[in-house]
């Protein structure tokens, strides 16, 4: 190295400065080529013409989006009116995911609070207990739930024998079953970020509130909830986003009436009845919704966190 020249990478306080491109290259190649490129391709496909046995014809067409939003009658010659079928499926999915998020919050917050206020020793054990199910295969969890609650399953058998009910509850293939499945799948995603927020919560704030004549529930509403709000919002997003595109819970636990986005998209790519451009269009709409939510979240995050 020439004397007097600006010092090279080795003398910087970031000792691997200059190596970043080399170190990042594998991530760029893998994710760029096998995820970003497919998603872009999907976006392109949503504007192509469908081929009848699955696949596409390379001809620009808005037919997929038209089919999603408008009804032009059986032969496509009637004046367009709003097609409610697919919007309805999306709406129902959003509603289902929203409700699941709400239920997870209602149960998850007290659970997270309870765990975070234990002494450090038992805290990690409680946390461990709550997270184990998350590590168990999602398919197996969902199948287990199906087994438990179906009409001839142990739950109904037990209740029938005890005599609480006269006939099976008919839980399976209902919205309730789907809710139960979503709750079961994603509850830890709600508990963990709230737990992290409560663990950092300074209990002197509660003491100050109590000192200023606030009751326990008022303190919860006016002090605790606003302070741990970042954890709550993170939890809500972590539950809502995967619930929206969930496939296993609605497919295994729900029926025809609980059809959600995941199944709608899946149908378009399986077997011969598929319509790839339409499935691609539905995927793009789902992706847009999710990215919008994440974007709004990221914006707010940047505003509240001063870096």
């Amino acid at each position: 190295m020439a004397a007097g020249a600006p010092m090279g990478a080795g003398t910087s306080s970031h000792i691997y400065e200059g190596n970043a491109p080399r170190l990042m290259a594998p991530s760029w190649i893998f994710i760029g080529f096998f995820l970003l490129a497919p998603v872009i391709m999907m976006a392109v496909y949503s504007f192509l013409t469908k081929e009848f046995r699955g696949g596409v014809i390379w001809e620009f067409s808005l037919a997929a989006y038209d089919q999603f939003f408008f009804d032009r009658g059986l032969f496509g010659d009637e004046p367009p009116s709003i097609e409610w079928t697919y919007i309805g499926i999306f709406w129902r999915s959003i509603w289902q995911a929203g409700l699941a998020t709400f239920v997870c919050l209602l149960i998850g917050f007290p659970t997270a609070w309870f765990i975070a206020t234990r002494d450090p020793q038992s805290r990690s054990i409680w946390l461990f207990l709550v997270t184990i199910p998350y590590w168990v295969n999602l398919l197996i969890r969902t199948v287990s739930m199906k087994f438990l609650i179906r009409d001839t399953g142990p739950l109904n058998e037990f209740l029938l024998q005890v005599g609480v009910i006269g006939e099976p509850l008919g839980l399976i293939n209902t919205n309730f079953a789907v809710q139960l499945g979503l709750f079961y799948s994603y509850l830890p995603f709600m508990v963990l970020p709230i737990y992290a927020a409560v663990e950092r919560y300074d209990f002197a704030l509660s003491e100050a509130a109590a000192d200023l004549y606030s009751g326990a529930w008022t303190t919860l509403r006016l002090i605790i909830l606003p302070v741990v709000k970042p954890g709550i919002i993170a939890g809500c997003i972590l539950v809502f986003v995967p619930s929206l595109g969930a496939f296993l819970a609605p497919d295994l636990l729900g029926g025809a009436k609980t059809f959600m986005i995941g199944s709608l998209i899946e149908e378009q790519f399986k077997g011969n009845a598929g319509n790839w451009p339409f499935g691609a269009a539905a995927s793009m709409i789902l992706l847009t919704i999710v990215l919008c939510i994440l974007l709004v979240y990221a914006r707010n995050q940047n505003k509240t966190e001063i870096r």
């Binding site: 910087s12 970031h14 970043a20 149960i107 998850g108 590590w135 197996i140």
Partner: protein, 269 residues
């Protein structure tokens, strides 16, 4: 007595937590119990027996599930190794290379697999792989798994690296270590707990995946989840419960392992 002045306690929170645990564990426990059922009819208890475990290994479906289990294991090990290596390199770049061009974009890219809904990733992969004619079964599944395992491996590794002050490497360099020696002799040993938990997380996530695998797998290639799903579509048979219980056991072993590693990692700090 729970005193009025304990500001940490809210009535009913314990009950909710316990309810929560019951809901989380009841299905798993019930399935585990019924997997030891001697009766062929699934719901009636016919006494304790290992019939269905024997069936899993020797029954008519045994070859199919064994093949699927081996596939799952091969894919999970390879995907976890690859994803962990890629994520480690990325974490070093993100935490130790200062600012570089495209850093924010790189961060977004690493996290992209977490942001795109799974079903979208699944169909996009299917469309893309069939367009480029890459449909060789196992290898296709492996590539897809590596991609979505990268962010899961990255998270614990980069968290660990952020907690290691860079004065350690500076001290090493001050004591005549080259940058490469500073990495292998100081940084790498300190990163190990993070790398191990990243590996375990990636392994479990790969083993867990059903949706993406189901789309990109070629005809005739099965992993354990797709095989189980296919079988469940024709009704829940007792051998499925035995397989599920076995997988449950594997999962619990793994989570305990990663929990212990996490603890030693914290103590070492």
């Amino acid at each position: 007595m729970a005193s009025v002045t304990d500001l940490r306690r809210f009535p009913g929170f314990l009950a909710i937590t316990l309810t929560c645990l019951v809901v989380l564990y009841a299905p798993l426990i019930v399935v585990a119990v019924y997997s030891f059922n001697a009766s062929t009819s699934i719901t009636n208890w016919g006494g304790f027996s290992l019939t269905w475990y024997v069936d899993v290994f020797t029954g008519p479906d045994a070859p199919k599930f064994q093949r699927a289990a081996i596939n799952s294991l091969i894919i999970a090990v390879c995907a976890a190794v690859a994803a962990t290596s890629i994520a480690t390199a990325a974490a070093v770049a993100m935490t130790r290379a200062g600012r570089f061009k495209g850093k924010t974009l790189s961060f977004a890219l690493i996290n992209l697999p977490l942001m795109v809904p799974e079903v979208v990733t699944a169909v996009a992969s299917l469309v893309f792989f069939s367009a480029i004619g890459f449909t060789t079964g196992l290898l296709t599944i492996l590539v897809a798994h590596i991609v979505f395992c990268i962010p899961f491996a990255y998270l614990p590794i980069s968290a660990r690296m952020q907690s290691i002050p860079d004065t350690y490497e500076q001290a090493a360099m001050d004591l005549y270590a080259t940058p490469r020696q500073a990495f292998t002799m100081v940084l790498l040993p300190l990163m190990t707990p993070g790398i191990l938990s990243g590996f375990l997380l990636a392994f479990i996530i790969s083993l867990d995946d059903f949706l993406i695998t189901n789309f990109v797998k070629g005809a005739g290639v099965e992993t354990l989840p797709t095989a189980i799903f296919g079988s469940v579509k024709q009704g829940i048979k007792p051998n499925i419960m035995a397989i599920s219980t076995l997988m449950l056991g594997v999962s619990i072993v793994f989570v305990s392992l990663s929990w212990l590693i996490g603890r030693t990692g914290q103590n070492k700090k």
